[in-house]
Amino acid sequence: MSGKNASYELPLGPIHPALKEPVNFTFKMNGEVIEEVDFAPGRSHRGIEWMGMRRNPVQILHLCDRICGICGVAHALVFAQAIETIADVEVPDRAYYVRTIIAEFERIQSHILWAGVAAHELGFDTLFYLAWQIREESVDVIEYITGNRVNYGIMMVGGTRRDITPDMFPRLEQALQYYEGLFEKMVDLFLNDKTIAMRCKNTGILTKRRALELATVGPTSRASGLAMDVRVDSPYAAYGDLDIDIILPEVYSNETVGDVYDRIVVRLFEVKQSVEIIRQCMKQMPEGPVLAEDKYAKLLMNLKKAKGETFARVEAPRGEDMHYVRMNGKQEAPEMWKVKASTYSNQMAWVEILQGEQIADIPIIVASIDPCMSCTDRVAVVNQEGNAGILTKEHLHRLSVEKTRRMQRRMQS
């Protein structure tokens, strides 16, 4: 720190309030500007794949629920699909629709949760409270359908464990109308707010080319104008029957920048899309059972004989979620199980989008890809080497809030 332009290192994490889950960042700073970024995931690695390779598919399904608290149904759904492909299980048509409805309610709650976090990172806490209050409705509906607010436990190999009957539709419809009624307000609060626009526009830009090269997925890549959505590209469950399009920032603004603001646009409009998807599903839902085989002992017998390998994919709220499963027909447990969560693909983009930005922008940019470390790491051991000089608890969040206040003052004067 002798010369004026000497760069210095700024460690951040693994545990930090600006990061909702553990990950370790090291920034090389020049004054306020980030020169280089490095990150080390793996701080919440729980060895779930290792556990899974010693369990039978039905047990793994419930383990999948617990990979992540937010996108629990995505992991369970994709694993069920993989096993169904290998064992050639015929899933009843109605189950596809139940799966789609629950997956879309999960998307609503996840995106609104993220919107609240984003508002909080900018120091806009009233909006954070409002967003999380609005989110409750979708969590209530999920509880109404599955009995649980998290770890839904609704997926099963060959269908779902619970049905959504027509007498439940009015409650679902009530929730959809609630979100439709609030949509304009949410758009107004998030996208027409001067402060949010100032902080988010042209911040953390990811170009379309880089989004493709770095193999990003989900809203992160769509915000950069890269049209990619498993629900449309390779439809699973009931998505092939529905009329859906890929949401790109063009739905709201004329140009695609690939900044934090565009990521808010994509996520908000996907909430609206989810409402439409659920309504289509309720209209088209075929009659029939929802589970192919309800005797688990018999199901497990059949799965034990299954042999083969496959990749299954779904569009989780954060992007493509992929499981690779290989069964050898000799044992109950799969020979190999690999989970690729959405954040796994998006983390490489951090290095790109944080470079050249300011310290105070770190929280919102890190949050802008909606990172989910539990999904990505899946295992937990902490490094022995202590790290001195880690930013204190609220320091970084405070920096971000101060920047917002500063910009607001400048705007007023």
């Binding site: 699909q81 492909t85 990619m228 439809p235 029957d241 496959t310 190999m336």
Partner: protein, 209 residues
């Protein structure tokens, strides 16, 4: 709209270009929903020397999205499965391509593909951690998910003697607090002895040192 091919055309193009180098070519379709719209996947096995050529050929068709590089311990061999997608963005047009590369355990090396797809580094680092395949030419060979003090030559996804030994997972309750940790920067405070009210100031002042 991008030009699209059928999965069979992609398979044929690789067979034509690489001849006997590609083997075990198969087209898989899975249909879900009432309308049974297919999800299309082309599987093929390529030798490890040709993995970059195969991906370059795929790039000449359409720049692919790399889903993940999965790995599986297959007895004497390690299978690496490169899952890529092309033609995404159009409705129901996407085709997945899986390149399986078989690597002998006696010589676990594979060339990096990060020259063609920069985003592959993340997945390649994970493969070095988890299944012990050395990726030649990888720009960043540090560990990613496993901590720095994880034992060398133990790979969680291996099924052989290099896998996780029972001593690392069995009877963990027997392991007491670690003793080889560095000294904490602040000395642990001496337990404060409860004293009479008149000497309370002294105790609160932290006169441990």
């Amino acid at each position: 709209m991008r030009a699209t091919m059928t999965p069979q055309e992609i398979a044929d193009r690789f067979v034509q270009k690489f001849g006997s180098l590609v083997s075990d070519v198969r087209v898989q379709e899975r249909c879900e929903g009432v309308k049974k719209v297919p999800q299309k996947t082309v599987w093929m096995t390529v030798p490890r020397e040709s993995i970059n050529d195969a991906i370059a050929e795929l790039i000449s068709i359409d720049y692919p999205h790399l889903g993940v590089i999965a790995a599986s311990d297959n007895g004497d061999m390690i299978d690496l499965l490169y899952h890529l997608q092309v033609f995404f963005g159009g409705k129901h047009e996407e085709i997945c391509v899986v390149f399986t590369v078989k690597i002998p355990k006696s010589d676990p090396h594979v060339p990096t593909i990060s020259g063609l797809i920069p985003g592959a580094v993340y997945s390649e680092r994970e493969k070095q951690d988890m299944i012990g395949v050395t990726v030649d030419g990888i720009p960043d060979s540090r560990r990613i998910f496993l901590p720095d003090d994880f034992p060398q030559d133990v790979y969680p996804w291996r099924k052989d003697e290099k896998g996780i030994p029972p001593s690392m997972v069995k009877e963990l309750w027997k392991i007491d607090r670690p003793t080889d940790r560095p000294v904490p920067p602040v000395k642990e405070p001496e337990p404060v002895v409860k004293k009479e009210p008149e000497s309370a100031d002294q105790a609160e002042g932290g006169v441990t040192e």
